[in-house]
Point group: C2
């Protein structure tokens, strides 16, 4: 795993860090009350099995922009915290499948993405070390025999053909008690997973075939307000404004007026907040598919006019999300600048949770992207920079922006998104 870099915290390349410091101070001062509040939340709505949250940190705002309930990237976590992941899996399985012994992992079907397969291998390691027999069953339709894949890390992953007998999923010689889904079902809910008698975790209902980002951020808005009341700070410091549009057809250019109107409303709302806090920045809006993941169909716009002048390439990009789904619904989200900077490159934190435990994270570092662009983009410039310290060890004897306390703040904001996801899952 030669690409892993362990380092300290990226620089914040902005002078506008006053509000963030304020947020960090509010969080640190109220840490026991915050944790008590989180414990209440998990009793009301249990956390999903696992989750990763993309954050953006502009120095004046720290907010989630994407919440993934079938996370990849486990190979990018700090190896020193694998022990934390193992323990969290043990705690999580006690709650969701207490008598499980054999677990079947169902990953994404794109077998050429070695980064993703490294993540699957890491997940297999973690679940195995937590004390389960774990094997990987693939949804790939033309897989007729086990396929061994040699990974750059030196590990080997075996994908086996998934079989179904009556209502039981299994492999040729492996009858699992539980199914762990690591496939976000962007292509829809496969018939193979319908009416399975084993518990399937997380529920296939949380796949992108049915989930909407706008629904998630609706829940998030409520959570942010409740948390803001608790820590006595404006929720805007950790809640990105958003609006959503009805049906859009980018290729036929249907729905553009609605988009432009909403971009305009949103830009003005952001400007009002910038004025309130005397932030000398140009507002921007991120336009993305309301369903789906993987950073496809994501675009930053700085004025309503830009909606009308998208070129063919941009339209094609917006019109196709992962799995070839046509983008019909769009979410417009307040753009949050990233002013975290590593070695001259823009970076953004990604925080990982297993059950309600924050188990680590990494920075997504992208040389070729600006501070107002999504960094979750394909390309060789992507580098992971692992969190050097854990996110669950705040130290009140240090400054609010000391490294461990910044990581703690990341974990707090990421868990707000996790609560929103838990509320989605509870419906």
């Amino acid at each position: 795993m030669g690409t892993i870099q362990v380092a300290s915290v990226p620089n914040l390349t902005t002078a506008l860090t006053g509000p963030l410091l304020e947020l960090e101070r509010h969080i640190l001062d109220r840490q026991p009350a915050i944790e008590h509040w989180f414990r209440e939340q998990w009793r009301k709505t249990p956390a999903p099995f696992y989750c990763s949250v993309d954050l953006r940190n502009s120095g004046f705002k720290l907010a989630p922009v994407d919440t993934n309930l079938f996370p990849g990237g486990f190979n990018n976590l700090n190896p020193a915290f694998e022990t934390l992941c193992i323990q969290a899996v043990q705690a999580a399985t006690e709650r969701v499948c207490p008598t499980a012994a054999k677990i079947l992992l169902i990953p994404e079907s794109h077998t050429r993405n070695l980064h993703y397969l490294e993540s699957v291998a890491s997940l297999v390691d973690i679940v195995g070390k937590a004390g389960f027999e774990v094997r990987v069953g693939s949804l790939i339709q033309d897989l007729s025999a086990p396929q061994k894949i040699d990974l750059p890390s030196g590990r080997q992953l075996t994908l086996e053909p998934l079989r179904r007998t009556k209502n039981r999923l299994h492999l040729a010689d492996f009858d699992p008690c539980s199914v762990l889904l690591n496939n976000d079902l962007s292509d829809g809910r496969p018939a193979l997973l319908e009416n399975i008698e084993q518990p399937v975790i997380p529920s296939p209902n949380l796949g992108w075939w049915s989930r909407l980002k706008s629904s998630h951020f609706n829940h998030y808005r409520d959570v942010a307000q409740e948390f803001a009341d608790l820590v006595e700070i404006d929720p805007w410091f950790f809640d990105p404004l958003f609006r959503n549009c009805g049906e859009i057809d980018f290729m036929k250019r249907e729905g553009e007026d609605c988009l432009a109107r909403n971009v305009d409303v949103l830009l003005k709302a952001i400007q009002l907040k910038y004025d309130e806090y005397k932030l000398d920045r140009k507002p921007f809006v991120v336009m993305k598919a309301d369903q789906g993941t993987y950073g496809m169909g994501v675009m930053s716009v700085h004025s309503p006019d830009e909606v009308y002048v998208l070129n063919r390439k941009q339209r094609t990009k917006m019109a196709a999300s992962k799995g070839g789904q046509l983008v019909s619904k769009v979410i417009l989200q307040e753009g949050v600048y990233t002013f975290e900077n590593w070695d001259g490159a823009a970076c953004e934190p990604v925080v990982y949770m297993i059950d309600h435990f924050v188990v680590g994270g990494f920075y997504r570092v992208h040389n070729a992207r600006g501070d107002d662009e999504s960094l979750n983009a394909p390309g060789m410039e992507f580098r992971p920079l692992v969190f050097a310290q854990p996110c669950n060890a705040p130290d009140t004897s240090l400054d609010p922006d000391a490294n461990v306390n910044r990581f703690y703040a990341y974990g707090v904001v990421a868990r707000l998104a996790l609560i929103a996801a838990a509320r989605e899952a509870a419906l």
Copy 2:
């Protein structure tokens, strides 16, 4: 905390490692089945809140010799695994006191032992970082105002006078929801703790005023047999033989015949096992108080005659255990050589658990003690050597005696003692 050494695993200075390797191999091969079995055990009898277990490793045998339900020594754990302790405390409190927000910690009353107070400070840190308001209430009777103690680590610990109003324990301005006991109650069960309305964790019934080592090792014998059936290996490889005597008065020399007789029986039983496995070692027996801790009143004997020739100093030592309790009951336990060696000094592993999670450990290193003596003895020669790797991350791709796998084996055997403690607590 300048005394902490992080290093790899001590050397096993013996050629007799065949059986240990065999035990480690059996454990590693059956890891998923073992963890499944542990999960079943915790469902039947929940683990105590925390626990430390002293192990002895002779290369041909790996066995617990003492199980502490009110552990000190948290300051000796690897700082890199504090995050694991924090997460384990979070998981544990969810089960035993789900709505707690404020926790009152009651430590031992010997305030001159700075090592112990460092452990209390570490425990305060861990519980605080886990998200609780935690303060320390002392049982010291003449403490009339808060006492601040500066510790060698640079930390400061505040002991506050414990108060009781009706059936509620509290401090002057702190009304806790739960009480965390870190006092082993060797002196008896204080009236102050009777009929408290808050939950007291662990139960004062588990204090040394009522607990018997022989009762613990009776439970352990059952657990060891069940585990031996699971891993298909002779339980003797991880179960020390023992016998106990009735009332002994060392000063009046009453009960000596019974002691000598039982030492003789035990030495012969050990010799039979040594013969069975062709182990060319001299058997010995450890004689210790059936109640109490802290390594006082512990003595190694190699023949029944030694019981009759104890000198006055040895008698005095055996007659007084911690808190000045007279030793009246004695347990005779198979002596397990320690052939772990660090820098020429004998050492033995101490494994820490919070709830049922193994969170780390350290080696007790003692320059002035032999491989057939207790290393839990006062003196400047004691040095902690922290476990460099976690105990919950076995790696089946490595040899059974690779470091992570040896640490895993420690954690497995320590958890067998934890099950025995859980069964004691359930009665």
